[in-house]
């Protein structure tokens, strides 16, 4: 393709090619502190290509594909090219990664131990990981936590943090505008803006830790903490994993060990500050 960049995020290397310069330039700026992988052999290829020849120039329209693709993926406007690239990388991981059990979860680390947070889009798990990453925790990832099936450790996948709607202002105030990407207005998921993780998150992205606490956050409710039964935890984690079935018995063994060993709670919270206070308290009590 005319424009390309090779990026390494945690253990995975991506080559992203694009028919247009803009998405690659934006990735280059936001991933400037990540390892320079120019010329490396990539695990995955992502391609941002026009939906038709004319759509390269006239109302440019991006079709996301690569080693793994979805035939019916909705095309995106060039203005959202950065989001298309990020979605393309997530798609490759979700459909193609086999070296670890993928959990759709954010994670942060303190003292070598890891807090894992899982929930649907809008649960607040990305925002919470981003804010904790500014308050003494090491940010490990906002989208995928990689569970090593041999050791039981969680490994980082610290890509750009994808923030939506109200979370954008909260996090921009906390980290400053220099670490924020362009505002991508009115995407299919609302307004989106990416945040560059702190330097320590990138420098230590090869370093995992043992999981010590699992939280199911839920933003927008009165503060509450609830226990969660192990059966429900197992079911929610298998639903939150895109490769549990593909990995077979090692995934069963690793996930049951995770569920049996890691204390878990569901937390509801009305604001980021409330959530951080709850996390600190639960970490003190349980981890």
């Amino acid at each position: 393709m005319r424009h390309a960049i090779t990026l390494r995020i945690g253990p995975a290397t991506f080559r992203i090619g694009s028919a247009w310069r803009q998405p690659i330039a934006e990735l280059g700026r936001l991933y400037a502190t990540y390892p320079d992988m120019d010329g490396a052999i990539a695990d995955f290829t992502v391609r941002l290509q026009p939906t038709s020849l004319a759509r390269r120039w006239v109302r440019p329209s991006i079709f996301i594909t690569g080693d793994h693709g979805l035939a019916d993926a909705a095309p995106m406007s060039l203005a959202h090219g950065l989001l298309a690239a990020e979605m393309g990388m997530n798609l490759q991981m979700a459909l193609g990664w086999r070296r670890h059990l993928l959990l759709h979860a954010s994670s942060v680390e303190k003292d070598g131990r890891v807090l894992v947070m899982t929930g649907e889009s809008g649960s607040g798990k990305s925002t919470l990981a981003a804010l904790l990453g500014e308050r003494g925790w090491r940010f490990m990832g906002d989208e995928f936590a990689l569970l090593d099936m041999d050791s039981g450790a969680i490994l980082p996948f610290p890509r750009l943090v994808s923030l939506k709607n109200r979370a954008i202002d909260v996090v921009t105030q906390a980290v400053g505008v220099a670490r924020m990407g362009p505002l991508l207005a009115a995407t299919a998921k609302g307004d989106i803006r990416h945040m560059v993780p702190r330097g320590d998150a990138v420098a230590r992205m090869g370093e995992g830790g043992m999981p010590a606490l699992l939280l199911f956050p839920r933003f927008g409710h009165d503060a509450a903490v609830r226990p969660v039964g192990q059966g429900e935890i197992f079911m929610r984690l298998t639903q939150a994993s895109t490769n549990y079935v593909a990995l077979g018995e090692p995934a069963f063994t690793a996930l049951t060990r995770f569920v049996a060993n890691v204390p878990a709670r569901a937390i509801d919270f009305p604001s980021g500050d409330d959530a951080i206070a709850m996390v600190d308290r639960l970490w003190e009590q349980l981890a």
């Binding site: 039964g229 192990q230 059966g231 197992f234 077979g248 018995e249 069963f252 063994t253 049951t256 049996a260």
Partner: protein, 98 residues
Amino acid sequence: MPDLDGATAYRRDETDAVATCVLDDLVLLYHHRSGQTHMVISPVPEILARMADGAPVSAQAMHDRLARDYNLGPVDDAVAEIGAHLDALVALGLVRPA
């Protein structure tokens, strides 16, 4: 096979083996042959445990085995329920007709 009486019989083969994990409120079964994970509660784990020898067993015979350890209530109801569980296990591929 004296306890079959011509009734439908069920058995587990070595190839039907599962890995088991007890969580606090249920039992997980990982079925090697299909790669499927099943979440089950009583009496399914108890039924499967009593088929570990691989010998054919009818619903009535399974009732008699379970009744040694559990109070199952009226016999006809319990046998019917056990038969329904065994048929469901056949449908899942965890048990096969003898």
